[in-house]
Symmetry: C2
Subunit: 125 residues, 2 copies
DNA sequence: CAGTATCCCGCTTGATACTG
DNA sequence: CAGTATCAAGCGGGATACTG
């Protein structure tokens, strides 16, 4: 079954994907899980400096609700929880790579080295 | 030259890309330009119901500043302005397709038909 | 250990009006 | 035709404190 998109439906489709990925910390979380890695709640707190417990929990819950990460609770005291990617979540990796590759091409197309809006750069602050 | 990413730098890279794409109307605009299509300001107003002049202008300016769309002004009265994608902007299309394809795979991985957060679906309202 | 509950602030968006 | 200017609202996110 091949889906056909109009400009409007394609845009909506991509927007839905972006909505899954938007959120100040989701990408970092994801990239700490790609490749089959498994992390505990406290691992993320160490791996991601600056994140608050509220945000960590919130972003994880959303990723879980969206079927991207899987949560495994070990009912013991003290509690132990593991996070890993779902199969579908893993499948996201190549798509994100495509975006990265696209970004890398930027200066390859005779683009005048982004005068307008530095994406991060500018002279080292 | 092959770029090497850590979880953190990869996340930042993708975030930078997402920042270019975020904005209530950018994707629709983009999809109305993919395939070499050229549009005038007023075309967008017709093609995109609900968009205000302020938002249209703003999103176009940002896309232009980011090197994704090119603006061509014909100095005449009344003014005429055309928008098209840059080469780099065109190159974004396959990457977005990858995201769309990923979204389509969702139910293919034994995902329980997204109980948590319907991305749009649910039984026809 | 792994969370939840509140309060507050900034930024993006929307509505509306005006102009070269 | 192709914009700019101004003002207010909504929502995501940060700081902080508390709990099974």
């Amino acid at each position: 079954m091949i889906k056909v998109y109009t400009p409007a439906t394609a845009a909506v489709g991509v927007e839905e994907v972006l909505r899954l990925l938007e959120g100040r910390w989701k990408l970092v979380i994801l990239f700490h899980l790609f490749g089959g890695k498994v992390q505990r709640y406290s691992d993320f707190e160490k791996l991601i400096p600056g994140i608050s417990q509220k945000m960590l929990a919130q972003q994880l819950r959303q990723l879980e609700a969206d079927g991207i990460v899987a949560r495994k609770l070990y009912p013991q005291v003290p509690p132990k929880v593991e996070y890993r990617l779902t199969e579908w979540g893993q499948a996201l990796c190549p798509a994100l790579d495509a975006l990265l590759k696209w970004a890398e091409q930027r200066d390859g197309f005779g683009n005048p080295a982004r005068a307008g809006r530095p994406t991060s750069g500018g002279p080292a602050a």
